[in-house]
Symmetry: C2
Subunit: 212 residues, 2 copies
DNA sequence: TCCGAAATGCTAACTGTTAGTGTTACGGTC
DNA sequence: GACCGTAACACTAACAGTTAGCATTTCGGA
């Protein structure tokens, strides 16, 4: 299915990479707001239109490989061992993600995001997407009984735990605290009369589908 | 402290109101994206700069009196009876807010927001602000013992409950479910060893202050 | 070899937003 | 009532992100 990439696709990937690298370098050198799209395009030696054919927006230049976040949390749900409980698996993954952000080896990217309001807002706007994706994975997991609404709630909760821990003075303590609350909420959802009475849920989610 | 407003302030308020009304009318007539700032300014017979001196952004034209949301939730915390428990008080307020949005008398404003991705994103970006405001009120409440982190978590949870209920097919059921989870999480935070051992918290919040 | 499609480029515009700079109308003071 | 400071407003011009339209190159496959 994945044939060896031809010259064309290699060139395209190279262009994209060059744009992303240039953008990150300039942003770190001069600050996000002080660097314009036209600066990035010029420095990367591409046209502005080419830049926008690779990245949907200026913010996307920073969050290029952000799908990884979504993938890792989703996999924490789907790839966990047969009877491994959900919440600890999620916590384990969130811990790793937080360490990846707050660690020194994370590179200065996180610092850039942390200090740029526009990027924080953008990331914030992706939280719903991530939460919805995680909720979908949970809802699709036949081992879980709570309703789609409960899955959505817990999913947002987990994303919140991530961002709260990142911002906390003591990430470990914050994670500890929030995940204790998540565990309790999850237990409440599992033992809810609604979930218990309904038995195994239908495969199709009930709620209004997410927009945007 | 509040002297009878002079002509000046009345004129200012009138201008602001005229802009907001015109904007809402045009947005509803032609759709949010199809109406430009310059259209609104022209139709309201003001300069673009005047418009921006009253409203910080195009989105703000729709969310003009949004502080009410923040105020109502905060008051649900501070103005509740001496020993009234927190979560039911919050739930009561959220229920009222959801009814206000999903009811027919809410006017078409909510519909507009609901169907415009840009407005949804903007509202999403205000959720952190609202949550932080609510969390601050909770943290400042001497009757509560959980830590600032726990307050932040619950606050975000409450805001999520609001938005989940609004989007749900059955808002009442969704509220029921999410608030059962909130109650459980809150109980877990209250009985946490950290909170219990620490006793009454210091008045100053510990976490890194919110940015943006 | 040749055709079609994809990648890229150039131009020009549109849209939200702001800085700079005047002008007018109001409120308080003498 | 005259006067002055200031807040509200307008006008111009620009900046920055984004996109449409169209030309051009470059590759992949027939």
């Amino acid at each position: 299915m994945t044939a060896p990439p031809g010259r064309r696709e290699r060139k395209k990937a190279a262009t994209r990479q060059k744009i992303a690298d240039t953008a990150l370098r300039l942003f770190l050198e001069r600050g996000y707001d002080a660097v314009g799209i036209r600066d990035v395009a010029a420095e990367a030696d591409v046209a502005v239109t080419t830049l926008f054919s690779h990245f949907a927006s200026k913010e996307a230049l920073v969050f290029e490989q952000d799908d990884e976040f979504e993938r890792r949390l989703t996999r924490a749900v789907t790839d966990r061992a047969a009877h491994e409980p959900l919440v600890p698996a999620l916590r384990h993954e969130v811990e790793a993600l937080v360490r990846h952000c707050t660690g020194d080896d994370a590179g200065p990217t996180w610092h850039l995001i942390d200090e740029t309001p526009a990027l924080r807002a953008y990331e914030e706007s992706m939280r719903l997407r991530h939460a919805e994706s995680l909720a979908a994975a949970m809802t699709a997991d036949a081992r879980l009984t709570p309703t789609p609404t409960a899955c959505r709630t817990i999913a947002r909760f987990v994303i919140d735990a991530y961002s709260l821990a990142r911002d906390a003075d003591d990430p470990d303590a914050a994670l500890d605290e929030t995940f204790r609350m998540i565990e309790a909420a999850w237990e409440a959802a599992r033992s809810s009369p609604r979930a218990a009475a309904a038995g195994p849920r239908p495969a199709t989610p009930r709620g209004r589908p997410a927009r945007g």
